[in-house]
């Protein structure tokens, strides 16, 4: 036995002298290349952002932010109405999509398993639902927009309105919310469920008191990602909320989101600079949003992982 061990030692030892430096060099080269790629990617990103910010900064002043767009080819005016419109749209979309999406995800993760055992029909339905969600997650937003135009704007006679836009956007982000919520729920360890049930809690109590709180960081991330998506969307709103530059009074009003405003400025008017300005504000909003996400997310994690914040 011992003879073999010494033989092995000797062969590795002799190898070490030969391969060590070669391996080190290969490692250094690989890391170097990856560094370069990362730097390139970041550089490109920064270039876009800085370009927009610089070009847009010229136009941004208090007047720009507080006057509403005047419409027409000149593109006069500011972007004031687009900010609240964007906000209303985000809120109404979430109000529709979040409960539906989270509820669907809870069903799929916690209940579908048992139901599938019982009946064949249920199994097929659930299979169809899951596949549907996967497919819808990849569908381009313009298609949701046209769907929204057909169903909400025309057939349901909701017209060009925040409501139509909200409904269409809800369809868009629903698959995303379902998927991220599912992931978050699945990542809650089984031991929590077992622990809760063993204490005499029933399934619903387990879901509301233990699983959802534990999954909330993931769920919140999904929602926030969706918010980012809504803010960035253009095509879907192009055909559902109308493009009016007036301040929306209620859900039935038409309106214009920030990104829609950028698009319309850039294509319908000569005011390219104002488009840049709106873009700059848009980017700032997105950056702020990300910072807020990170902050909330890390606070949640710290709390749940037990470190005192």
């Amino acid at each position: 036995m011992s003879a073999n061990i010494t033989t092995v030692n000797r062969s590795i030892a002799s190898l070490q002298n030969n391969n060590m430096s070669t391996r080190k060099i290969i490692q250094k080269i690989a890391f170097g290349i990856m560094w370069i790629f990362a730097a390139l990617a970041i550089a490109m990103l920064l270039w876009i952002i800085i370009y927009v910010l610089i070009n847009g900064a010229q136009v941004i002043n208090l007047e720009f932010l507080t006057t509403r767009p005047r419409g027409g080819v000149s593109g006069e005016g500011g972007m004031s109405t687009t900010i609240p419109t964007t906000l209303y749209l985000v809120v109404s979309t979430l109000a529709l999509a979040a409960p539906l999406g989270i509820g669907a995800a809870i069903y799929l993760v916690e209940y579908a398993g048992e139901v599938e055992k019982e009946s064949r029909a249920a199994r097929i339905l659930i299979r169809v639902a899951r596949t549907g969600i996967e497919i819808l997650a990849g569908v381009p937003s313009i298609i949701f927009g046209l769907f929204g135009f057909t169903l909400f704007v025309s057939i349901m006679k909701l017209g060009f309105s925040l409501l139509s836009g909200g409904l269409a956007a809800a369809c868009l982000i629903l698959p995303v919310i379902i998927r991220t919520t599912e992931e978050a729920l699945l990542s809650v360890p089984m031991s929590y469920r077992e622990g809760s049930l063993a204490l005499g809690a029933n399934k619903w109590q387990t879901i509301t008191s233990v699983i959802l709180p534990a999954a909330s960081p993931g769920i919140v991330t999904g929602i926030v990602l969706s918010v980012g998506r809504i803010i960035a969307e253009t095509a879907i709103f192009w055909v559902t909320i109308g493009g009016s530059y007036r301040m929306p009074e209620n859900l039935a009003s038409a309106g214009r989101t920030m990104s829609l405003h950028v698009f319309m400025l850039a294509t319908e008017t000569r005011a390219f600079d104002k488009a840049m300005g709106t873009s700059a504000i848009l980017i700032i909003v997105i950056v702020l949003l990300n910072l807020v996400i990170n902050f909330i997310s890390s606070r949640f994690e710290a709390k749940f992982m037990g470190k005192k914040v």
Partner: protein, 259 residues
């Protein structure tokens, strides 16, 4: 129920357990004595955990599970009882400590609150009493709002014990409660179990024979048959099982000749 002068808490009669077509347990007949510590030992795969989990019907969570025979707790058939009510009377502590990502207080108060207890004062008293019973009160009393996950492994396990005690069960099931802990924490848990046995019926599954020898009053030796079904080889007072067992198989197992 009385037998040979000792009270029986749970009676198992002709108990057979199947995962789908596979028989995991065969013809188990056993009595769990009241307010004593019963340990279940045996080689891996012989169905000890499956058996333990039958007492609080945690196996119901697994699909395709089939049961034959009777398990009665003081004349009530546990498979006919409401499962939530059963689990309030038969608590469980798991192998890996699994405190919820909540504060220490909320962890312990979870069970009572789920059962409907709303009175804040009563909840606070219950939490304090349970933490004291679990011998962890002094270490956490200054900050009950600290997250349960911030405790050390041994403390987390005692927190889980407190959590189980807060529901005021009659039976406590422990599935290798100290196997994930260091030796000192293990001994503390064993001492704790000893004290708890005065008021609760305790059943422990352990693959550590010394722990069974140290920490239990009665021992049940399970073995795996050739078709991989688990069966009860011998049941008796721990002292007898470990100094002079009746069955040769038991002797071979505890002297390390197999398993």
């Amino acid at each position: 129920m009385n037998q040979n002068g000792k009270e029986i808490k749970i009676n198992v009669k002709d108990f057979n357990f199947y995962y789908g077509k596979f028989q995991a347990l065969r013809d188990i007949n056993m009595d769990i004595p009241k307010n004593k510590i019963t340990s279940i030992i045996g080689p891996s795969g012989c169905g000890k955990s499956t058996f333990l989990r039958s007492f609080n019907r945690m196996n119901d969570l697994i699909p395709n599970v089939n049961v034959k025979g009777e398990v009665t707790m003081e004349s009530e058939n546990i498979f006919e009882m409401d499962v939530v009510a059963l689990r309030q009377r038969v608590g469980m502590v798991f192998q890996r400590p699994n405190p919820f990502p909540k504060s220490i207080f909320d962890n312990v108060a979870y069970g009572p609150r789920a059962a409907g207890l709303r009175d804040k004062t009563v909840v606070e008293e219950l939490v304090e009493r349970s933490l004291k019973q679990a011998a962890i009160w002094d270490e956490v009393k200054d900050d009950l709002n600290k997250s349960g996950l911030a405790l050390s492994g041994g403390q987390q396990q005692r927190l889980c014990i407190a959590r189980a005690l807060a529901v005021e069960p009659e039976v406590i099931l422990m599935d290798e409660p100290a196997s994930a802990l260091d030796p000192i924490s293990t001994l503390r848990i064993e001492e704790l179990i000893r004290i708890l046995a005065e008021n609760y019926t305790i059943v422990i599954v352990t693959h550590n024979m010394q722990q069974a020898a140290r920490a239990s009053d009665y021992s049940a030796f399970f073995n795996m048959a050739e078709d991989r079904a688990g069966y009860l080889v011998e049941f008796g007072e721990t002292v007898k099982i470990f100094t002079n067992p009746t069955n040769q198989l038991t002797e071979d197992y505890i002297t390390g000749r197999f398993g």
